[in-house]
């Protein structure tokens, strides 16, 4: 913030924020209609007939992608023409940190729900605390247990074990965090070859993780009877791992974009905020997984 530093860059007016809002609007009404038309409460059959929602939703998503493309194009151009100064990249960095903090809180809510269900709801339904009558009058046959394999109204499921795929996935993510750190270091010291190699490996690990996750879901649905409808255990399982999976996908996407920008030579030793941000994001997603592994799969 020294007095002689270059001026803070305030961009000229830009249409993309407005376009982005329109995109969200389309997505919102499209998704609401689509979900409504294609599902019914309590059952999960997708019937996509007779709905306009899907088209609006699709249009919204495409619109959003286009908007993001143009928006980022503008920012990249500004970055390359040197309009960004120290202070601005500070703003970006801090912005990213707070964004990740908000994500932490989002997962915090989901973990909170998990603990609440496990430590309070299930014992209460089983008659613990001052809920003896809850058990006696409403759910007399119910057995408190975790993971909840038989719900109070008698739906059953099997448990997803920790030491098969999930353990492998944990290893994959930990390794990917390491390879990403190596790549980042390579960028800072300017070893382009190593950077490209390890960035590539990280992306492949991310994709590998995702495909194993898809396989695991398939396994859960078809062999274990562990579904979204299988009671609170299934609900929480898919919420936590599913939102994590969405974040891994976003992280992988960011890494891929960075990969191409590396190939184009966009990043310099000093100026590579986007790269750093994706790395932080990746590490964050990794840490979430560790918690997940411990409380969802293992304990």
């Amino acid at each position: 913030m020294a007095e002689n530093s270059s001026k803070y860059y305030v961009p000229e007016s830009s249409p993309w924020p407005l376009f982005g809002s329109i995109g969200l609007f389309l997505i919102a009404i499209g998704a609401a209609n689509f979900i409504q038309q294609s599902t019914q409460f309590g059952q999960n059959t997708l019937r996509a007939d007779g709905t306009w929602g899907q088209y609006v939703l699709m249009a919204g998503v495409l619109w959003m992608i286009a908007t993001m493309f143009f928006w980022w194009r503008d920012t990249i151009k500004e970055s390359l023409t040197g309009l960004h100064n120290e202070q601005l990249s500070g703003s970006y960095r801090q912005g990213m940190i707070w964004f990740i903090f908000s994500e932490v809180m989002f997962f915090g809510a989901l973990f909170g729900a998990l603990f609440y269900a496990r430590w309070l709801i299930i014992p209460w339904l089983g008659g613990a605390g001052n809920n003896a009558m809850t058990h006696e009058l409403l759910w007399p046959g119910f057995q408190a247990m975790w993971p909840l394999t038989t719900t109070p109204d008698g739906r059953t499921t099997q448990v997803m074990g920790a030491w098969g795929l999930p353990a492998i996935n944990t290893a994959i993510l930990i390794v990917s965090s390491i390879t990403l750190t190596i790549a980042h270091h390579a960028l800072i010291v300017g070893e382009r070859g190593r950077l490209i190699l390890f960035q590539g490996i990280t992306i492949l690990l991310g994709l590998f993780f995702l495909s194993l996750q898809v396989y695991e879901y398939y396994h859960a649905y078809h062999e274990l009877g562990l579904t979204l409808e299988a009671g609170i255990y299934g609900s929480l399982f898919f919420f936590l791992t599913g939102f994590h999976g969405i974040h891994v996908s976003m992280g992988t996407l960011m890494l891929i974009v960075c990969f191409f920008r590396i190939l184009k030579g966009h990043f310099t030793k000093e100026n590579h905020f986007v790269y750093e941000a994706s790395a932080w994001y990746w590490h964050f997603v990794d840490v979430v997984w560790l918690f997940l592994f411990v409380v969802v799969y293992w304990l």
């Binding site: 209460w124 339904l125 809920n131 009558m133 809850t134 009058l137």
Partner: protein, 400 residues
């Protein structure tokens, strides 16, 4: 300018002060300005706590407003052209952190005591399961003294007739309900004194006996609110909450309560009416009810259409009107006026089935209405609202 301003400020603040004081000193027993002291020990403890804390906050409030007012008058620019410059004083800052803290501790102690007393539902003699529905309550007497299987169960609906509350003044657009004259062919009825509070079948409690309520709900969250007993417990579907009360022996009488958790359209229309009676009277009542419950449903046939219609109208207005409308015009439920189902005598069975089994958002009435009631209601449906089938359904048709 300045001085008129001051008169205005002082006038406004005085007004505020006076209104505060007059409230604080008006402790009439059953005023509708202050909290109801209620009739049980607990409710009176709660009332005492309320009064005490109201005094504390009033005094604090008045002290703060007094200082502000004094300063506004005494330190105005025309009096003090030059402001002081102090802007810190560790001593007072510590004082006004610590003193409120101490006041809080003195409030927390009695509050904790009352709360612990309220929590203890042990050693009750009568257990009643209270279930909230959209939009009525049911009461099931589970245990009474040595009797572990009382088995008395009934529903309790708002008694106020629709002609008293449905008094629309506007028409069309936002207000598609017509005027009162359109709807009932007459001006709205005068409201009873127990308007919106009375029910068709009240909860009966014995005086001087510790009663435990097991509160739950069938659909959404309701809340069992009896101000005179200082009870408010949420009725949560899938869970049972406990509350208890002992109404003193000299406090027999009628008490009212309301549903206190938004439960949908007719949240305001599911009151609670409790009759507290002497213990002997209660025993007789309970024995009678028990006998009635044991002797099976009353299947006495209706002698004529007229008799069925009278009972049917009564039951319709208690149980169906909230969803299907006073004129059978529909609402949450489907309309009846002139509909195919209502006017096709071949489909009576379907009509009966809907009532007994329920369908989608239409609840089942098998538990809430007796076969005789159901027969009457169906007869009414098919001969009112402009329907003229002449069908007379008998209790035996329903019971089979």
């Amino acid at each position: 300018m300045q001085s008129t301003l001051f008169r205005r400020v002082t006038a406004a603040l005085t007004l505020l002060l006076v209104s505060g004081v007059s409230v604080a000193s008006d402790w009439t027993e059953r005023s509708n300005v202050n909290l109801r002291p209620g009739v049980t020990d607990i409710s009176q403890d709660v009332f005492g706590l309320h009064v005490a804390i109201l005094w504390v906050v009033s005094v604090i409030g008045l002290a703060v407003f007094g200082l502000i007012m004094y300063s506004a008058v005494a330190h105005r620019r025309s009096k003090r052209p030059q402001a002081s410059t102090f802007h810190e004083h560790v001593g007072v800052e510590i004082a006004w952190t610590v003193i409120p803290f101490i006041i809080l501790i003195f409030m927390a102690i009695p509050a904790t005591r009352v709360l612990i007393a309220m929590d203890d539902s042990a050693e009750s003699e009568l257990t009643i399961k209270v279930t909230g529905y959209r939009w009525n309550w049911s009461y099931e007497y589970l245990t009474y003294q040595d009797d572990n299987d009382v088995g008395v169960f009934f529903f309790s609906n708002l008694k106020t007739p629709a002609e008293q509350y449905h008094t629309p003044v506007l028409k069309d657009g936002l207000f598609p309900y017509g005027t009162a004259a359109d709807r009932f062919g007459a001006e709205p009825q005068e409201k009873d004194h127990d308007y919106m509070l009375a029910v068709d079948k009240p909860l009966i409690l014995p005086a001087g006996v510790k009663v435990r309520f097991l509160v739950t709900a069938d659909d959404v969250i309701h809340s069992f609110f009896m101000p005179d007993f200082a009870i408010k417990k949420d009725a949560i579907p899938g869970f049972v909450n406990e509350a208890w009360t002992v109404v003193p022996e000299d406090a027999t009488g009628i008490y009212y309560g309301q549903c206190a958790e938004l439960c949908g359209k007719n949240h305001a229309f599911m009151p609670i009416e409790v009759h507290v009676v002497a213990k002997e009277e209660f025993d007789t009542w309970l024995a009678e009810e028990k006998e009635k419950a044991a002797s099976g449903p009353d299947l006495t046939p209706f002698s004529n259409l007229e008799a069925a219609m009278t009972l049917g109208k009564e039951k319709y207005n208690a149980a169906c009107v909230l969803c299907h409308g006073a004129e059978g015009q529909g609402g949450i439920g489907l309309p009846f006026a002139g509909t195919a189902l209502m006017n096709d005598s071949a489909r009576i069975q379907e009509n009966i089935d809907v009532l007994i089994k329920g369908r989608n958002a239409m609840p089942s009435f098998a538990a809430q209405l007796t076969p005789r009631d159901i027969a009457a209601v169906i007869t009414y449906q098919r001969n009112a609202f402009g329907n003229e089938t002449g069908d007379l359904i008998q209790p035996a048709d329903v019971a089979k």
